[in-house]
Symmetry: C2
Subunit: 401 residues, 2 copies
């Protein structure tokens, strides 16, 4: 057996996999829709998009972070089956949880199920219902994704941890507040063009600077919202994909990485080793790298995260992401459009659904169906989805042939 | 593509998989040991048993039910990596959650990862820390595995739901209180011989009948405890297994099934369709069925569950499990020994760890290392692990060649 992870990944033994259907709900404060409503809406859209019936489905995966604390419910995978009208098929229904990366981890497990031959048609859903919780409850929920004993219990908040990363990025790499703020400005501009986006209003860098401070240097407009929403994707073996859709999208590579839960134990505050490991594995499987990528969705929970991700995934050298953002290279029409959906900042961050909303966006782009936000001739795309403050990362490489 | 699930399952495209290492903690009220301590203890034992090093591990899966409510922590997979000293390898670390079936689902995802070629060596850990919670908190935790809106919120408890199943089994199939009680008596007898078991005292049917009533007809001695504990298993491709161990155990089949979360929506109270579907898939992959099984671990959260499982997995016809139990056919030395570990009833039920403790027990049996509880010449074994009141079920078929 090979000992180099990239070498191993390149030679995965299984079948090739394609995305044949996508479905999303609008993200936002969806007070009229329950957890059950959201997951069913996105699921039915994806099933229709894939031209399949319930009896065709071999397995279901569900990504959701903290259903115990948001809706008082664990064991949500069979709940999803039930409310989608699929209970009588008794298929495997599996929930995965990896904080904000839950959706992409679920997608990845679905891919492995098809590659292994365990399932032919797999439905992967991500869902979260965040806005029914009070601010205090939400703080507890978000804190549960960080190291409870070493961070949350002693008062560190998610924003405070990311503020440390932002300060370190500024100190080590020369990143400026304008560069950080431009991430939010760009993603709000993109969100204007996405019918599923939570925020549809343009903002300026001055507004970002002047917004209420949350954790210095991050004002409120550096922070993504916590949203309600769901997103679903349907997978099948690549060789069978054309019997379901004229526009299959190949899963070229999937990589996942981990790191310490607590920030203080990591080797650097300005790069995420979990994301670098995930990207290395995904690119190795795909057989191509960042220079081939036409469009990407990156996990911009805070503005600094997009800059770190741009560098971790190899789109820019260390310290290069901020200046490039300021110069418009990552905007629609720029050299490498990032977060055409609006990203977490403007599309919204329905935690367990976010990774699958990223994949749905890239699939739309590669199908040339992204309408007002379409990246011209996009053939290869990447999604980057992280959990907590970066202890989990998943990178997914997608392409049309 | 085949449309019959069993037909599909039989032809999985991936590599064969073996268990090459196991490790367990004692189950019980482990007030001296934290979640982190438990998972590390079991993990290190399994890694030593498999003769591997940290750098050999390609992926880690963690099964745990309700860490948000027990230890205030989601996102536990990277926590496990960190506390096992593995953070610097940045391997994929994935938590799955399916209530009491979490451990077996994690095992199954690990098997799919190896089959697919995504990973060669996979460590799968299950862990739960139940006994630091108050009775009220525990009721909330257990209730979160049932249908929160339709069952728990309106006052149905886990024991009440299972009491309905027990009454239905008595009414429909002629099962008696003595038959139910004998499950607990037998499993306490078995637990006496397991060094990891929580309860090491024999009980009589009279004691079961006379114990305090929880939900008629289930007295306290019909109910498994909720325990602290962890269990870990190491997997690799079957073809490589002999380079790690002299006694590899082949994963002959793995099946998973689902059903409605709420009991009222199911077609029967006396059989679990999720378990029947899981068993059908596992047997189909293995190429053998219940007649070939030498030993099994079944999910006896309540005494009635063992009888239902005995019938769902085909060891006895409907209504036959109770009389067979009373006649000693399922005891050590009987025709088909069930729960030689003591089962959930006597070994204990550390929720997310239970499925992996079952697998560790069967692996010990197939390696001929189960000492005082060894089933003579055991070559084929089965594990059956369910979540909630039966909305999730996993069946695993293991064999030595």
């Amino acid at each position: 057996m090979a000992t180099n992870p990239a070498e191993k990944a390149r030679h995965h033994a299984g079948r090739e996999v394609a995305v044949i259907g996508i479905g999303q709900t609008a993200f936002g404060e969806r007070w009229e829709a329950s957890f059950r409503d959201l997951v069913t809406e996105a699921g039915l859209k994806a099933i229709q998009d894939a031209n399949i019936q319930g009896e065709d489905i071999d397995a279901v995966y569900v990504g959701s972070m903290s259903t115990a604390l948001t809706i008082g419910q664990e064991h949500v995978a069979p709940l999803v089956i039930d409310h989608a009208g699929l209970a009588d098929f008794h298929m495997p229904a599996t929930r995965v949880e990896g904080s904000g990366a839950s959706g992409s981890i679920a997608f990845r497990q679905g891919v492995l199920a098809v590659r292994s031959g365990d399932a032919d048609i797999v439905v992967v859903g991500g869902v979260e219902k965040m806005t029914d919780s009070s601010d205090a409850e939400t703080a507890r929920i978000v804190g549960s994704s960080m190291d409870q004993e070493w961070e949350s219990f002693v008062g560190a908040t998610d924003t405070a941890i990311h503020a440390m990363m932002a300060r370190a990025h500024m100190d080590e790499l020369g990143t400026t507040l304008d560069m950080l703020a431009q991430v939010a400005v760009k993603n709000h501009d993109h969100g204007l063009k996405n019918p599923y986006a939570q925020f549809k209003r343009p903002i300026t860098r001055e507004q970002v600077h002047a917004a209420p401070m949350v954790a210095d240097p991050l004002t409120r407009l550096h922070c993504a919202p916590l949203s309600d929403g769901a997103s679903t994707v349907v997978l099948c073996p690549l060789e069978a994909a054309e019997s379901f859709t004229k526009k299959p999208v190949k899963v070229a590579g999937t990589g996942q990485g981990s790191d310490t839960l607590a920030l203080h134990a990591r080797h650097s505050l300005t790069t995420m080793a979990a994301a670098r490991a995930a990207a290395e594995r995904a690119y190795a499987q795909a057989g191509w790298g960042p220079d081939s990528v036409d469009v990407a969705e990156l996990h911009d929970a805070y503005t600094v995260n997009e800059l770190i991700a741009l560098e971790d995934l190899g789109f820019f050298p260390r310290g290069g992401a901020g200046p490039a953002t300021l110069e418009g290279e990552t905007a629609l029409g720029g050299r490498i459009p990032i977060n055409p959906s609006g990203g977490l900042k403007a599309r919204g961050h329905a935690v367990g659904a976010t990774g699958l909303a990223q994949i749905a966006e890239i699939v739309s782009q590669l199908r040339n169906e992204a309408e007002g936000r379409q990246v011209k001739d996009a053939r290869r795309g990447v999604c980057h989805n992280t959990g907590g403050t970066g202890a989990t990362a998943v990178v997914t490489a997608l392409e049309v042939l």
